[in-house]
Symmetry: C2
Subunit: 383 residues, 2 copies
């Protein structure tokens, strides 16, 4: 395997505390050696070993590729008109999901594949090298299974979200829908999914339903995660902690007991500030969570309803501006935090033996991702 020595790295974010004693693990004037698909060496340029090839990155900042642990890329159509109406004062409700369900069921495989490929490429251009993709706009046995197969074309981190919302044909029989999700739909989905997720929220699924669905998924080898506490307080976050899930996502409306449960359980709180931006809602208290010792991840939630951004750099900028994370905390949460939310130790960090997923910025420091909001700063993605 050919090795490549990367230099010209003004600032390297490794997320490996061995370098500077901080979580960000900064190295200035750094070098990285890549061998095959893995990192072979990381450190100061002047101590770098020889390699077969060499590249000078021109004095840029380099960080681990973003790990976007929450997205919904398998869908058809868009909801631009709903967005415009919401910005004129209408409030966001989970029911809007059904609009996309109808469009997704009507779409051909080719249309869904093209949309996933387009959004996956868009994410890559913005520095994302690992992405989780959920089903959840099919809500029939056939459409959930095909959504997961299509998600699997761009990622290994596929999540079965049959329990996204109760579809219209089960409006009068939500218990019957849970039976479908935990029965034939799960049977069809499980071979194509790594995770199972439930939207545990008023208007979607309650605690007992969530518990049943996660248990059924677990019995088929799927690991659990939850959407919870997005639109109001509720039992979802504490349930996730009780079950020891890898992550619980949204965490916008938390009570003190939720924060304590998160800190004690180690379940990652995944914050999705693009949602609050795009629904004009109050932001989660990232500052309070970090200060309480909770592990925080940042993710895009890219979906056509509540948040149609695919931009992890925007999430970082919003985390700093609106949620009072430091730029370093936000970068960590968008990389190492996302990796923890997916139970991964091979990404989100630049260290020997880890995957060679590097995002190169057109900037000298990671701070610029928050300092220069909206500017496409990703110069190159190495993965």
């Amino acid at each position: 395997m050919t090795s490549v020595l990367l230099t010209g790295i003004a600032e390297l974010v490794t997320n490996d505390p061995v370098h500077d004693g901080t979580p960000l693990g900064l190295v200035h004037d750094a070098a990285v050696v890549i061998q095959g698909h893995r990192v072979a060496w990381v450190g100061p340029r002047q101590q770098a070993p020889d390699a077969d090839d060499a590249r000078d990155l021109g004095g840029r900042a380099v960080l681990p590729g973003f790990v976007d642990s929450h997205s919904h890329l398998v869908f058809a159509g868009d909801r631009a008109a709903e967005f415009a109406a919401r910005m004129s004062g209408e409030s966001y409700a989970a029911g809007g999901i059904r609009t996309t369900v109808a469009a997704t069921r009507a779409a051909t495989d080719e249309q869904l594949i093209a949309n996933v490929a387009r959004l996956g490429a868009e994410m890559r251009r913005q520095g994302t090298t690992t992405v989780e993709v959920k089903s959840g706009y099919g809500l029939t046995v056939r459409d959930e299974a095909r959504s997961l197969v299509i998600a699997g074309l761009i990622t290994e981190e596929t999540t079965f979200l049959g329990a996204h919302v109760v579809p219209p044909e089960y409006a009068d029989d939500p218990a019957g829908y849970v039976e479908l999700v935990t029965g034939p739909m799960l049977d069809a989905a499980a071979p194509h999914a790594r995770w199972i997720d439930v939207f545990c929220e008023r208007g979607a699924f309650d605690e007992d339903q969530a518990r049943a669905i996660l248990a059924a998924g677990g019995a088929q080898g799927l690991k659990g995660r939850l959407h919870a506490n997005q639109l109001g307080p509720g039992p979802g976050v504490r349930l996730a902690c009780e079950l020891g899930l890898a992550a619980v996502d949204h965490c916008t409306f938390l009570e003190a007991a939720d924060v304590t449960a998160l800190a004690e359980s180690g379940t990652v709180a995944t914050l999705l500030p693009g949602v609050e931006f795009s629904t004009r809602s109050p932001y989660p208290d990232a500052r309070g969570l970090v200060d309480a010792g909770v592990t925080v991840a940042l993710a895009s939630d890219c979906n056509p309803g509540s948040c149609y951004t695919s931009s992890m750099p925007l999430c970082v900028a919003l985390a700093v501006r609106e949620m009072r994370m430091t730029p370093g905390e936000a970068i960590w949460s968008a990389t190492a935090g996302g990796a923890r939310a997916l139970g991964r130790d091979d990404v989100g960090v630049i260290a020997p033996g880890k995957r060679a997923h590097l995002t190169v910025l057109e900037a000298p420091s990671h701070v610029h991702l928050a300092y220069r909001p909206g500017v496409p700063l990703v110069a190159e993605v190495i993965a």
Copy 2:
């Protein structure tokens, strides 16, 4: 001159009400004919005339190139550390400008030219086809003149802002600095500038000083514009209206009399929401201004201190999310509004005889610029 017929335009924003009776002048399934540097024809595709060449834009939305009427691109260094400190709780003060003044004075011409070229290209990639660039980080006769010469390398819309802040060497003699600005510095700057601007704000220049500086500039053929009411209420907006200036910029802290003066005078209120984003400040009341009949422009204010974004798409998204403009109003203000703020009738509109400045989106509708915040949606810039 060869003519080119552009088709495959799912939605065309013309800013010409002749098409649909609204300010945005939307045409669906549109065509545009370009001849040389000008637009020759605009309308529905099925009525398009023949042309020498043809191009299909693939079903995208097209709008006039953004007109960014307020930027400070001639500088050296950055203030990322100041930004990070501010996000940790320190407040923004105009005095930070002096940090950049010191770096700019110390820079070579080549360094300043490279920085302007870099940022100008970055703006272009994000859809900006007309940009105003100010001096104001030199604050000596030599450094202001060279800043304007360098600004003139990328735009005709150059603005002399010797009255940005009183430099340290005049800290005890602000009146002496105003004499310099209105005397030898103006003499050196005027041949290279179209506009003269004053930062009329507590901590910078007061009303009488602003009046004297604008009058001196006017005597040398420079048209006036103002920075005003950014950090608190003040006399700047009413002064701009009284003098009939093309635009007054920031307008964050307005009293009722300011709004009335803006509506009656026709002076454009240029809002710079990237500043409020990057300084964590309250946003101007764009909704109230539009409803009062004020002409509103949106601009980036790209500068290394209070707002280091060059992204007009971000400004549009912030205008919708934070200032309650509709997506259409925000697009108009970022194109036609900017043109009015610069007294230009040849840009900011797609109509026969106007400059052929077109921004093509990787999206089917202008709404996507707000609906998909942070995503680099500019597919191509034709200019």
